[in-house]
């Protein structure tokens, strides 16, 4: 598939910007004795792209189906543009949905698949009956318009040459586009997507991902996107709602979740490779890792064990030529690191190992390759490395997993913060 630039050109203005605000108020749902959704409330703004992300079984798909009207909530309200949707049929909610397995009608051609929502919306029952329908005035009146709309959307998605084919004759990516087309053609207020990329192979996924983002930008529709893949959620959405056990852990902009996770589960879920966790201790307001005292002041008084999260790119390595590090902080904590394994990812490398202060906890460091990378032998021969950690990028969590906010201690004359060397 070519890049999606023409998509923007085509779609801008072509689809009426029928935006909608969606509100969820105290949605609850149980299946038998299992509580799937616990009091979910969320406001989605006009034209916003919001991702519901979480591990399987967290209730994200159930929530999406409740928004669509395919499942009824036990309690709570759904409002689209202020109008309550409770008990309304899916077709009356003015939504469109794209399913994980595309859910194309298998025996209908692509063109028929895409015209179905319009046929259902614009033709009365008698004009839809097979055989008789061709003789009804409604069918004769509406059919050219339906065909024209289908063709327009097909052209936008560059599938107009596939209109006569059956879904079985299409590739995964093409099916995905047909599913998008079928959803787009009815010009919905809210666009719901249930893991639409998970059946595509990795390469295609990245391509379609950017196209959906562009589709959102150009159509201005409200998108609700369910995924278990944090990368998709991070790259595509305006806001990410991270769910666990039927409740939101945190709702916010992607970078917000990454930089300021509300608790340890958010920190672990967001970011790839996963955040490094090491043990720390707080005694009389002094945070330390092993015997290394950190120049950090916790905002709330706390004593005892803390979990410390370090993003893989927050650690820099000294004395290895060919590696570049994004994080070039002036104030650093020196530590010793035992390298175990290096993974070459092309533009960057992942270095696996453990800090000397906590040899049992696996740590990953992400480094960019610079031009003179290639002196691998030198790097390969040494297992003991000196690393530096940017103290401002550390995240602290109490034993229950709740985030403890912190700030750097500013060194003053009276209290110069000492950076203690590695153990």
């Amino acid at each position: 598939m070519p890049s999606g630039v023409p998509l923007i050109v085509f779609l801008t203005g072509n689809l009426g910007c029928k935006m909608a605000k969606l509100s969820l108020k105290n949605i609850k749902k149980s299946f038998g004795s299992t509580e799937v959704l616990k009091n979910i409330s969320l406001d989605v703004e006009d034209g916003e792209f919001i991702s519901l992300v979480g591990q399987s079984g967290c209730g994200k798909s159930t929530l999406l189906r409740i928004i669509a009207g395919l499942e009824a909530q036990d309690a709570g309200d759904i409002l689209i543009d202020g109008a309550p949707m409770n008990g309304r049929e899916p077709k009356d909610r003015n939504i469109a949905m794209v399913f994980q397995d595309y859910a194309l009608y298998p025996h209908m051609s692509v063109g028929e698949n895409m015209s179905m929502p319009l046929i259902m919306a614009r033709l009365p029952m008698h004009a839809r009956l097979p055989g008789i329908r061709h003789f009804t005035p409604a069918h004769r009146r509406e059919k050219p318009g339906i065909d024209a709309d289908v063709e327009k959307v097909a052209k936008q998605l560059r599938i107009e040459h596939l209109l006569q084919r059956k879904p079985a004759q299409l590739s995964g990516g093409q099916r995905q586009r047909v599913a998008l087309g079928r959803a787009l053609v009815r010009n919905p207020k809210v666009f719901l997507m249930d893991e639409p990329l998970s059946n595509l192979d990795a390469k295609l996924r990245v391509e379609v991902r950017s196209e959906i983002t562009e589709l959102h930008a150009s159509s201005g529709l409200t998108f609700i996107y369910v995924t278990h893949d944090q990368t998709e959620a991070m790259t595509m959405s305006d806001r990410v709602a991270l769910m666990q056990d039927g409740a939101f852990l945190q709702v916010g902009a992607p970078n917000d979740l990454y930089a300021n996770p509300a608790n340890i589960d958010v920190a672990k879920f967001i970011g790839s490779p996963e955040i490094n966790m090491i043990k720390g201790a707080v005694t009389s307001d002094q945070v330390s890792i092993g015997n290394v005292a950190l120049p950090i002041a916790l905002d709330a008084p706390f004593n005892g064990a803390v979990q410390i999260g370090i993003r893989p790119e927050a650690i820099t390595i000294n004395g290895v030529p060919g590696l570049a590090f994004a994080n070039q902080s002036e104030r650093t904590i020196q530590m010793s690191f035992n390298k175990r394994l290096v993974e070459d990812l092309g533009p960057e490398v992942l270095i696996h190992g453990a800090l000397a202060v906590e040899p049992n906890r696996s740590i990953r460091i992400r480094a960019q390759k610079s031009q003179n990378y290639g002196e691998r032998e030198l790097f390969a021969s040494t297992s003991q490395l000196d690393v530096q950690i940017d103290p401002s990028s550390l995240l602290f969590f109490d034993p229950s997993g709740k985030r403890i906010s912190s700030k750097l201690k500013i060194p003053t004359h009276n209290n110069p913060v000492e950076l203690v060397g590695a153990a």
Binding site: L70, M97, Q100, A103, Y105, P106, M120
Partner: protein, 293 residues
């Protein structure tokens, strides 16, 4: 036959030597299978052989497959032309088609509801449906007969079809088949504005063609061959089904065995011919329904 095949003398023609078993075990297996096949096929051979015999020869003590006196022309002429044979076939067609049409009409929506709709008590309802499979027609035949007498419908096409209008077996079969239909397609259809009936007509039915064809074969064969119920509710000749017409040659005063067998052969023929033309459909039908017709 198999002992001929074992000896590999060069005079044996090639087609026969190809049947030569590979081992002693193979020879034994072939023998057993041959015996089994004989048991299956013999009644048909006997039927055809008897249909060209005079009555007194059918149960003769020195039985031969080849008749001593050939009465085939008389027997078959009598069966085909001295009685309204085509009308019997037509009656059977009407009854079987009527039964099948109503069965499909009732079973498909019921099966869809049991397979795909969530409602309170659906499991119990389905259990009840399954339980109904265990009740043989003989149990319900008396109340149904009395009912038909009360409404004055005896000796009509309806009376022959009525007890079979709702096929529990069809509900069960279609329900199992519909279960495999992807939920997401149904959900997509609901979002697109399909009504439940349209989901059945436009989406489920086209995908269920193999199951419907299979069940149609099963139902058609079963009711074509049914003798029991038409025998109970129909007396007049112009309503008789093909199977029932065989009984005409049997009376309290005497039985014309030769003609009975000729009649049986003629009645069996349409299904055999249909089988030859749509063999694959039949086999799929029988294997899918899991019941021999």
């Amino acid at each position: 036959m198999s002992d001929i095949a074992i000896s590999s003398s060069p005079t044996i023609p090639r087609w026969l030597s190809r049947l030569k078993p590979k081992s002693v075990g193979g020879a034994i297996t072939t023998c057993i299978l041959f015996l089994g096949a004989w048991v299956m096929v013999f009644p048909f051979i006997w039927m055809i052989s008897s249909s060209v015999k005079p009555t007194d020869e059918v149960y003769d003590s020195d039985f031969t497959i080849i008749p001593k006196t050939f009465k085939g022309f008389e027997n078959y002429y009598n069966v085909m032309f001295e009685q309204p044979y085509l009308m019997f076939i037509l009656n059977s067609m009407i009854v079987c088609t009527g039964i099948l049409a109503v069965q499909l009409l009732t079973a498909i929506p019921a099966a869809y509801a049991l397979a795909k709709l969530k409602f309170r008590g659906s499991t119990i309802l389905f259990g009840t449906v399954i339980a109904c499979l265990t009740i043989p027609i003989n149990v319900t035949s008396i109340p149904i007969y009395v009912g038909l007498v009360k409404v004055g419908l005896l000796d009509t096409y309806i009376s022959m079809m009525f007890p079979f209008f709702i096929s529990v077996f069809a509900i069960f079969l279609f329900r199992q088949f519909f279960k495999g239909f992807p939920d997401s397609i149904i959900q997509a259809a609901r979002v697109d504005g399909f009504s439940e009936i349209e989901i059945i007509l436009r989406l489920i039915l086209p995908s269920a063609v193999p199951a419907i064809a299979a069940f149609s074969v099963f139902s058609f064969v079963a009711h074509w061959n049914d003798l029991y119920w038409p025998l109970i509710v129909v007396q007049s000749q112009d309503k008789m089904t093909a199977t029932l017409s065989i009984m005409q040659y049997q009376s309290d005063f005497g039985t014309d065995h030769g003609r009975i067998f000729a009649s049986a052969t003629v009645v069996t023929m349409p299904m055999v011919i249909a089988f030859l033309f749509a063999r694959r459909l039949f086999i799929r039908g029988i294997t899918m329904t899991g019941v021999k017709g």
